[in-house]
Amino acid sequence: MSIFTPTNQVRLTNVAVVRMKKSGKRFEIACYKNKVLSWRNELERDLDEVLQTHAVFINVSKGQVAKREDLMKAFGTEDTTEICKKILAKGELQVSEKERAGQLDQVFKDVARIVADMCVNPANKRPYPPGVLERAMKDIHFSVKPGRSTKQQALEVIRQLKETMPIERALMRLRVQVGAADAQRLRPRITPFIKVVESETWNDDLELECLADPGSFRELSELLSKETRGRASLDVLSLKEVEEGDEKLE
């Protein structure tokens, strides 16, 4: 027969356990599910909404409370609330289902937004709304990789999207100025980096206004600085060349 009687037993439900190992002991606290991450993101400021109880456990599921000496030894204080806060901040936890879904969803939306920011519909030189891109990303079964940065994933997804829909990187407007000495020599080497030449003036030196893919900007600038030893200039006139204003369909 158990020594516990139902009346003096507190049973916790919906428990998310946060653990921390310190000075050779494992400490646990009992939290509510789905709340720990919002505490860490400082969205939730009410500790009682996060902690089920302020007690610190050795094992939550067995209901073993940590001994005071152990706490003293590990944390240097007996104030369990303070200890709970420390464990909450640093401890390891099993991310709950909703939290994980929320995180992935956020990253997914972020990627879509970055793509929308970087790309245009070549037909009308206007960006796609993030909503359209989200759907398109779902259509090509793009799944978020939690480890990689959103920007990397965005670049990846643009490549994949190009196969199913008309989409292109928004071009940068650049101005290239090359001195007379190098102009003749460099002009053909610049060509592959440029998508559209807007204006080109030769008076001894070359002044070129053009649209280029942002991806090739780095290479172009390296080429220019290496070949001319810094005597050519490369100016960004606008980061993103898109159609401005509303257009009436008629």
């Binding site: 005597r231 204003g245 509303d246 369909l249």
Partner: protein, 1127 residues
């Protein structure tokens, strides 16, 4: 069975005096389409039994399902009255407020209107609207008092009570007409008065001015509806009966021997029948007698209803039928449903179609009687005087009035009021029909030729390749067939490339001349000015479209149709005064247009639209690859609907702007099923916002000192900011000066944000065009680098700019704004918006934006390097603010410091070279043009190239961050955003002004709805001479969705709002507000449970844009679903 042949109608079209173009107008659900049904049934197009149930004119599936008309459509009817044969072109119009644009299109083409009013509901908002529209278009209305059966069966009124009710409704309608009339008279009087005043200045002043003088001079009795004048029909369209007073007058004249003339005068009004004297006596009301109308007319009707519906007294009914001499088929008499019996008897006893059509033919004008006023109004748009038009154009008035169709000198004038889409399959020339002998032989011939061709081809190919297989020839065969089809139907114009299922038919009327199939006519665009075109020849002779005329085009009329409701009949030619459909205009005409054979014809007055499109939604295809279909579908929709707007927003969203929610629904269905034929997704309505900052408030909402809270807020924000970035890049000083360094550490900019003084943003928004021209001028100046080559702006523009500058200076008052106007370096966003960038860098004077009006021209070289980047950074920042990426408004950024590499970049000539070395810029800038100096370009270039050679090693290092100009753009943008965040931020909501007309008894409800939706009443006044209040309120656009619907529901349709965008208004609450003090905790709870309005808006926008939303996965920990553990 139809008993009118097409030939007959064609013949009737030639006689304009016997044509009546009418439309049916009313409030929604007052029985327009049901009435139309009865009229159609009289022509045998649908059966009498179905009349009122079929709603023949509602040809769309949507219309049938919802039970409301959405498109106006026309039908030609034949009517025979007193041996004269009439052609009635009947146009049925929708009554729902969302579709009132369709009413405008219908009214324009008509000469007369039938205004239907439900006697139970009386005058409703749309009744007002349609009466006004009829009035504005100068067309003559007739009244149909409908649903009298409801008084009997639903309200169970006695004949006398019903009489009172009918009188009341009639008075209401006349009151509306009267107010329209009086407003016109007043308007004319004020015109006259102002004229008088100017003339009276010299002479002795005539002080006595009687305001009612105008009314006495003008006779308005002919305008009012009155049964004794025969322009009112009493009807029940559902039961198929209706009568004029005249009908009963004739009846009783035979029976009682009283003269018909007398009876007609006395049957309606305050008369009673003295049975002894057999005389009509006046003053029935005073003497408490039954009015004649009750005794002789209503009681009979009531008796019939009573016998059939209430008592089901077969014998009595039969007796009544016999006494009237009616022949009712026994099948109907024995029908179990009394309604069938009733309508069968009534439609013979008092046939509705006869009553209505005879009123139409006798009271409404024919196209010949078009009045001069109307013609002048149509011909001279945009407030021009008719006399100012060229003489050739004025001469057209005569042909309008004559409405002649024959003769070579008669110009052809046609007005297209709208276009509607039909399936190509349903066009008459595509309907299967028996082939004539000629056609059969032709086909045989063609088939033979094809066969021969094929044989020939086969021979040639088999020579080349013996193994040429049959699939290779198959396509050829198919295309051959396709050509054949095209030959047969030249009119089947396909708007799309591969999907020819829809084609457009223009809904038009011929005002003068005769249009023939294949005729060439000019199409006048709305901005066309006939003064330019009078010398052009008649279009018959013209081979090409005239060059140099922007708003004039030539078109060919491919097909002419007679509109028969949902069917069309092909016509060869249509004479003047008729309504017709024209095919093949979709490439020339967008929505409405004027067609004419002479270029002297001016475009008609644009349609008077009662509602403006306001509901905005974004649409996108469910499958992103179908974007092209969507765009094409939207174009077609725009053409087919007179009230919709479609556009692509800068964000790439495809936006549909519609008049209301029902209209939106229809447009979406059209798009899905007819035009785009793809699945589409629709966003929630788009609501625009602006972001701004305000001066720090001294007192909080709960009247507390703000100091501590502000400090807290700043700390919090600072904390949040430094998280993501390296804190060393950003420095914030106490008074909101933000200093940011580029990642490559070359440049440092310090920016402060200030709220613009009141009135400045508005002024800037008003003068957008001016600012744009200033900017254009400056940029040409900047680029050409040659002062002499820039062209001067015209003198009047310069004047306007000077005024604008003065206005700006007036508004910038106080120490803080000293010299502000001359320090402006840019407007934003898009270089012309309501935000400013001030240059307050000490020692850096860049050429001002006012160069065009200042004589001192700095040479173009005085710009500092990267000035452009600073400005673009500012543009980017103002385009999307930090709160929720909406544009900013009314924010001024002042650039206070700008350093390059920690060294003051105010370079003098002497320092030039050394400076460049220090400022070693990553990829180099050859043309370092120095500030503050007359130093020529050569010096600068020299400096640059020297420096360039020395810094190549460093250049590679800082390349890690990309070019400096790019970095500076984003650094400036960040700096602006942080500076913005340092101030109390606010959202600005777009506001509508909302005009509501409501009667006194629903006023309270209107107020309740307004206040629930954060609306604010601006003014409220009573309309003179009526019990209607007109209320003006402002309402946030964000709260307006469903507002009209709600207010209509709450007030049972008695108040209908009109919403028009008016201005931007700061939402007073802080979107970032959190309770901090004890009292606030008590007030609002720890989490500020009652979200502020601003926060709600911010969250909604951020969510729509896919931005990070601070949202907890689970709000209340304890309220999650519990997964019980097994005990």
């Amino acid at each position: 069975m139809r008993h009118i042949e097409l030939e007959k109608l064609r013949e009737l079209q030639r006689n304009p005096s016997n044509i009546r173009n009418i439309c049916i107008l009313a409030h929604v659900d007052h029985g327009k389409t049901t009435l139309a049904d009865s009229l159609i049934a009289s022509n045998g197009i649908i059966s009498n039994r179905l009349a009122g149930k079929l709603r023949y004119m509602d040809s769309l599936k949507e219309e049938q399902i919802r039970g409301i008309t959405m498109k106006s459509s026309s039908i030609s009817l034949f009517f025979n009255m007193d041996e004269r044969e009439f052609l009635v072109n009947l146009i049925d119009s929708p009554g729902h407020v969302d579709f009132s644009s369709e009413v405008s299109t219908a009214v324009r083409l008509c000469d007369g209107a039938l205004v239907v009013v439900d006697v139970v509901e009386g005058v409703c908002p749309q009744t007002h609207v349609v009466l006004r529209q009829a009035w504005l278009e100068h067309i003559r209305p007739c009244l149909v008092l409908n649903k009298i059966d409801r008084l009997i069966t639903e309200l169970k009124l006695t004949p006398s009570e019903a009489h009172v009710q009918i009188q009341k409704v009639l008075e209401q309608v006349n009151a509306v007409t009267g107010s329209l009339f009086s407003s016109k008279v007043l308007e004319e009087n004020t015109d006259k008065e102002s004229n008088c005043k100017s003339s009276e200045r010299e002479g002795p002043l005539n002080t006595l001015y009687d305001w009612s003088a105008g009314f006495e001079e003008m006779d308005d009795s002919s305008l009012y509806f009155s049964p004794d004048q025969g322009n009112v029909v009493f009807a029940s369209a559902l039961d198929g009966w209706g009568f004029c007073v005249e009908h009963f007058a004739r009846l009783y004249a035979q029976k009682t021997g009283v003269k018909m003339e007398v009876l007609r005068k006395t049957l309606w009004g305050d008369f009673y029948l003295d049975p002894k004297a057999k005389k009509m006596m006046k003053g029935a009301q005073a003497k408490g007698k039954k009015p004649v109308f009750v005794q002789l007319v209503l009681e009979n009707v009531w008796a019939l209803y009573d016998a059939i519906i209430n008592r089901r007294d077969k014998d009595k009914v039969e007796k009544m039928v016999a006494s009237q001499g009616l022949k009712i088929p026994t099948r109907d008499m024995k029908h179990a449903d009394p309604k069938v019996v009733l309508s069968s008897i009534c439609s013979q006893w008092l046939p509705l179609a006869h009553a209505v059509l005879s009123m139409v033919c006798s009271k409404l004008p024919s196209p010949l009687e078009i009045n001069v006023e109307r013609v002048e109004r149509l011909l001279c748009p945009h407030l021009r005087r008719f006399e100012s038009l060229p003489i050739e154009t004025q001469a057209l008035k005569e042909s309008f009035l004559a409405c002649r169709s024959e003769g070579s000198d008669v110009p052809v004038i046609v007005f297209v009021s709208k276009q509607f889409a039909v399936d190509v399959k349903s066009l008459p020339q595509n309907q299967p029909r028996p082939l004539t002998q000629d056609e059969l032989s032709q086909r045989k011939e063609q088939a033979k030729r094809r066969h021969a061709d094929r044989l020939a081809r086969k021979r040639s190919t088999s020579k080349d390749r013996a193994e040429s297989s049959s699939p290779a020839r198959e396509p050829g065969l198919l295309t051959g067939h396709g050509e054949d089809v095209n030959m047969e139907q030249p009119g089947s114009t396909d708007t799309g490339d591969e999907d020819p299922a829809q084609c457009f038919i223009a809904f038009a009327r011929v005002y003068s001349g005769t249009v023939k199939r294949g005729q060439r006519l000019y199409v006048m665009g709305p901005k066309y000015n006939p003064v330019n075109g009078v010398q052009l020849p008649e279009s018959y002779a013209l081979p090409e479209c005239p060059t140099g005329m922007n708003h004039l085009r030539l078109c060919v009329l491919d097909d002419l149709f007679l509109l028969m409701g949902r069917e069309l009949e092909v016509l060869e030619e249509v004479p003047a005064g008729n309504v017709l459909g024209i095919g093949g205009l979709e490439e020339h005409v967008l929505k409405s247009a004027t067609l004419s054979s002479t270029a002297a014809c001016p475009p008609f007055l644009p349609l008077n639209l009662e509602v403006l499109p306001i509901v905005r939604v974004a649409v996108e295809p469910t499958h992103p690859s179908q974007m092209a279909q969507l765009v094409r579908g939207m174009r077609l929709l725009n053409q087919a609907d007179s009230c919709v707007e479609v556009l692509i927003q800068e964000s790439g969203e495809h936006v549909l702007v519609t008049a209301g929610e029902v209209h939106l629904q229809r447009c979406l269905d059209d798009l899905r099923q007819r035009f785009a034929k793809i699945e589409i997704d629709v966003s929630a309505p788009i609501i625009p916002f602006r972001e701004t900052i305000i001066r720090r408030p001294k007192v909080d909402m709960v009247n507390e000192d703000m100091g501590s809270q502000n400090l807290f807020a700043i700390q919090r924000r600072r904390g949040a900011k430094t998280e993501g970035r390296l804190s060393e890049d950003i420095r914030v000083e106490g008074d909101g000066l933000v200093t940011v360094t580029t990642p490559g550490k070359e440049c440092t900019v310090s920016v402060r944000a200030l709220p613009l003084p009141e009135g400045v943003p508005h002024l800037l928004e008003e003068s957008v065009e001016l600012i744009r021209s200033i900017e254009q001028f400056n940029s040409t100046l900047h680029e050409s680098q040659d002062v002499s080559s820039t062209q001067e702006l015209p003198e009047n523009t310069l004047d306007a700019i000077r005024n604008f500058k003065r206005d700006l200076e007036d508004r910038f008052q106080g120490m803080k704004w000293k010299n502000a106007v001359s320090q402006i370096c840019s407007f934003g966003p898009r270089r012309c918006g309501p935000n400013l960038l001030l240059n307050r860098v000490e020692g850096y004077t860049r050429p001002s934006v006012w160069q065009c009006i200042e004589n001192i021209r700095c040479s173009a070289g005085t710009y500092r390097d990267y000035d452009n980047s600073i400005v673009s950074g500012f543009q980017l920042a103002t385009l999307a603010g930090p709160i929720c990426e909406e544009p900013m408004r009314g924010v001024c950024f002042s650039l206070e410091r700008w350093e390059t590499r920690g060294v003051q970049t105010v370079r003098s000539v002497s320092e030039g070279i050394a400076e460049v070395k220090l400022a070693s810029l990553p990829s180099g800038d050859e043309q370092q043009s120095d500030t503050d100096s007359e130093c020529g370009r050569s010096t600068a270039k020299e400096g640059g190239s020297v420096a360039g050679s020395e810094r190549s090693d460093e250049g590679i290092r800082s390349d890690r961050y990309g070019s400096c100009s790019g970095q500076l753009i984003s650094t400036m943008k960040d700096a602006c955003r942080f500076a913005f965040q340092m101030k109390p931020q606010r959202m600005m909501a777009a506001m509508y002004t909302c005009e509501i007309q409501a009667t006194a008894d629903v006023l309270g409800k209107v107020y309740a709805v307004l206040s629930r939706r954060e609306g604010r009443v601006i003014c409220e006044e009573m309309r003179q001479g009526s019990a209607v209040f007109s209320i003006r309120a402002s309402l946030p656009v964000a709260e307006s969705f469903g507002f009209a619907e709600e207010i209509r529901k709450r007030t049972s349709g008695l108040a209908s709002p009109q919403l028009v965008f008016s201005h931007w208004e700061v939402v007073t609450s802080d979107p970032y507000w959190v309770p901090t003090t004890e009292e606030e905790y008590l007030h609002f709870g720890e989490k500020a449970d009652s979200e502020t309005q601003a926060k709600k808006y911010v969250m909604a926008v951020r969510k729509r844009k896919g931005l990070l939303v601070e949202e907890q996965v689970v709000e209340h920990a304890e309220k999650q679903r519990t997964h019980a553990r097994k005990k």
